[in-house]
């Protein structure tokens, strides 16, 4: 995984709450056996009309937001299924940070596995960031994971929390499986004890 660098980019506003994984990527696009190339169908049913033409009212189709790297979204973003196609599509589009007041659990975890930083902020901070995102292309936000800071286009600084282990992995582009395999002796020991204590498993 590539290392997560400091981001200075356009933030797209999506104030709708409960944006679910079916909205992020409808099931017709889950039939792939690859991880790549899903950016073009991100938010498919909102982004395109039924004839395949672009819905120009949709935020990511507006000239200001076509190259957005940050998404400021309404509460409970990513609810629904466990499909990792949702973060794959977001990443492939070029979005590296999603900011909301809350995220669904599985989606939240899936983001970190794919080099995307989901940030939880308070409702007040969310209002500030949403207003900043609505200013368009000239209002660029900065997201600094190292120092856990978002800086609005006006220079207002908002601090955020992140799990230290997840931060470390993102900043260093570390692969979880490799890290866990270094703990193989613990797994071996657990398994040999479990064979005694719970042999039916």
């Amino acid at each position: 995984m590539e290392k997560f660098e400091k981001i200075h980019g356009v933030a797209a506003p999506m104030p709708l709450i409960n944006i679910d994984t079916d909205m992020i990527i409808p099931k017709v696009h889950l039939k792939t056996i690859k991880r790549s190339g899903l950016g073009v169908v991100l938010f498919d049913e909102m982004r395109y009309h039924e004839d395949g033409s672009e819905n120009e009212d949709f935020v990511l189709n507006k000239p200001a937001y076509r190259n957005a790297e940050i998404l400021v979204a309404g509460d409970n973003f990513g609810c629904g299924s466990s499909r990792e196609h949702a973060p794959w599509a977001i990443k492939d589009f070029g979005i590296k940070v999603v900011i909301s007041t809350s995220f669904a659990d599985i989606f939240f975890n899936n983001c970190f596995k794919n080099g995307i930083l989901p940030i939880v902020v308070s409702p007040e901070e969310h209002e500030t960031l949403m207003a900043d995102a609505q200013k368009g292309e000239n209002a660029r936000m900065t997201v600094d994971l190292e120092n856990q800071e978002i800086t609005t286009s006006d220079g207002e600084v908002i601090k955020f929390d992140v799990d230290p282990h997840k931060k470390h992995c993102l900043l260093n582009g570390l692969d979880d499986i490799g890290l866990t395999m270094e703990k193989a002796e613990y797994i071996d020991r657990f398994e040999s004890q479990a064979v005694q204590s719970r042999p039916w498993v």
Binding site: S82, I106, I187
Partner: protein
């Protein structure tokens, strides 16, 4: 020892390693796999030259993509679906994991097959690349959905990197009224807590109304824990659980059964355990419910009317307005006046034998309304066979239902079973999201008995009027 919840006990029994910051490596007892969320994980293993660490604890079955019409024995027509299922065939073979192929009678929806075959046992950790893994919590197992990267992680290491969730108790006291089922309980809970109400928690469902449920009903309740935002939902095992598990193909036998039973009987929340959040609902207060909107929290008793968006607060005002427009409804309209085009009975929420029995009970000797498309999709080949043996299949067929083969079917429309734009469906599945059952399709979630009632009258109907 300090008092513990059921979740605490299962968690503690599975910690392989705990880092200073509380990040744990959790051992996984059962890993269920289906064709949609696994191909990239197996590909990752191949690229890194890794093996499946515990193939004997890994079980795969295709369910999302498979057609449910009888002609599927001749192969899957849709090329992308076929490729995904073929990839699972190959991966199961190459990595030596347990597998139930499409035309095996034991094939079905992964969350129905696991318990049916005795793979799911009390006190286990169970994961699957599917959010409805919560279903297995009905056995007092810690079961939850994971993404594909985590599928790969579990395949390679038989562990997951986890932080512990908080404990939430949902108690349903007293008795249910006639016509009220497990589905109404689980929808009513989400209606009460909202779709993010469980975020950060593992829910334990308890109380007399939960204890009174069959294992099938408990699976329905836990299945939708994810719709309430929780990582998992579980129910303490009891005699009903042990009775259900005993004798299943992969359940322990002989001395191992006795040893297992002794441990399972310790799996309950201690009286003075700490709960971070408690929700109590009186069983008597729960009515047969339906959803009116595009979020599972949009739940109301069938006797209610479509709400006015202005009655909500904050972001929900706009979300409700959007939902009502998408659903083609009007505020103030009676829910029981909403006419439907299609009825779908099935899914990992309501595709078990008891669900089919409940619907058949209402349909017995009746016909569905002219022009209604109605299908029943048993959750597994074995559920289907049992329903045929009990004469339930005949009741459905005589009423005018299509009698399908097992699979996820119209719950998520990755297969040929889909809604057309604007088509309105009474569905026993778990999600009413925009486009969930097909682009532009409109979904009302309800219980199997309520779905049967809707099929007869052609509109959303209070099942109590037909009892």
């Amino acid at each position: 020892m300090s008092p513990k919840t059921l979740y605490d006990k299962i968690w503690d029994a599975h910690v392989v390693h705990e880092a200073e910051d509380g990040t744990c490596l959790l051992y996984i007892d059962r890993h269920l796999v289906h064709e949609v969320t696994s191909p990239q994980a197996f590909e990752g293993l191949r690229m890194a030259g890794r093996k499946v660490r515990a193939p004997e604890k890994t079980i795969a079955v295709p369910d999302h993509n498979v057609p449910t019409t009888p002609d599927r024995v001749n192969g899957i027509e849709n090329e992308e679906s076929r490729i995904q299922v073929e990839a699972l065939d190959k991966n199961a073979r190459d990595f030596g994991i347990h597998y139930y192929p499409v035309n095996d009678i034991r094939q079905g929806i992964v969350h129905i097959v696991g318990p049916e075959q005795g793979w799911t046992l009390p006190g286990m950790t169970v994961v699957c690349g599917d959010s409805h893994t919560a279903t297995h919590g009905a056995f007092g197992a810690l079961a939850h959905g994971i993404g594909t990267s985590e599928v790969e992680h579990v395949l390679a290491t038989q562990t997951l990197i986890q932080k512990k969730s908080k404990n939430m108790k949902v108690e349903i006291t007293g008795k249910l009224q006639p016509g009220v089922t497990a589905k109404d309980i689980t929808l009513a809970v989400i209606g009460e807590t909202g779709t993010a109400g469980g975020t950060g928690y593992v829910i334990e469902y308890c109380g007399e109304a939960i204890r009174d449920l069959s294992m099938e009903g408990r699976m329905t309740v836990c299945n939708m824990a994810i719709e309430g935002g929780a990582r998992a939902g579980l129910i303490a095992p009891d005699e009903k659980t042990f009775e259900y598990v005993k004798g299943r193909p992969h359940a322990p036998k002989g001395a191992q059964w006795e040893a297992a039973l002794a441990w399972w009987k310790t799996l309950y929340s201690d009286d003075d355990a700490h709960w971070d959040k408690v929700v109590t609902i009186r069983g008597e207060d729960i009515a047969p419910v339906v959803t009116w909107g595009t979020s599972p929290e949009d739940v109301l008793p069938i006797t209610a009317t479509v709400p006015n968006p202005e009655d909500f607060e904050g972001g929900k005002v706009e979300a409700a307005r959007r939902s009502i427009e998408y659903m083609g409804l009007k505020p103030g309209q009676k829910l029981s006046d909403i006419e439907i085009d299609t009825v779908f009975i099935g899914s990992c929420t309501n595709g078990r034998i008891e669900d089919l029995r409940a619907a058949a009970e209402i349909l017995k000797g009746k016909k569905i309304k002219d022009g209604i498309r109605a299908m029943v999709v048993p959750g597994s080949g074995l559920v289907r066979a049992q329903a045929e043996e009990e004469g339930i299949a005949d009741i459905f067929k005589e009423a005018g239902f299509e009698w399908r083969l097992a699979g996820c079917s119209m719950c998520l429309a990755m297969n040929p079973d889909q809604l057309s734009p604007g088509e309105r469906c009474a569905a026993t599945s778990n999600r009413n999201f925009e486009g969930r059952q097909g682009r532009g399709g409109r979904t009302h979630l309800l219980s199997p008995a309520m779905a049967a009632a809707a099929a007869i009258t052609g509109k959303l109907t209070d099942v109590r009027e037909l009892m």
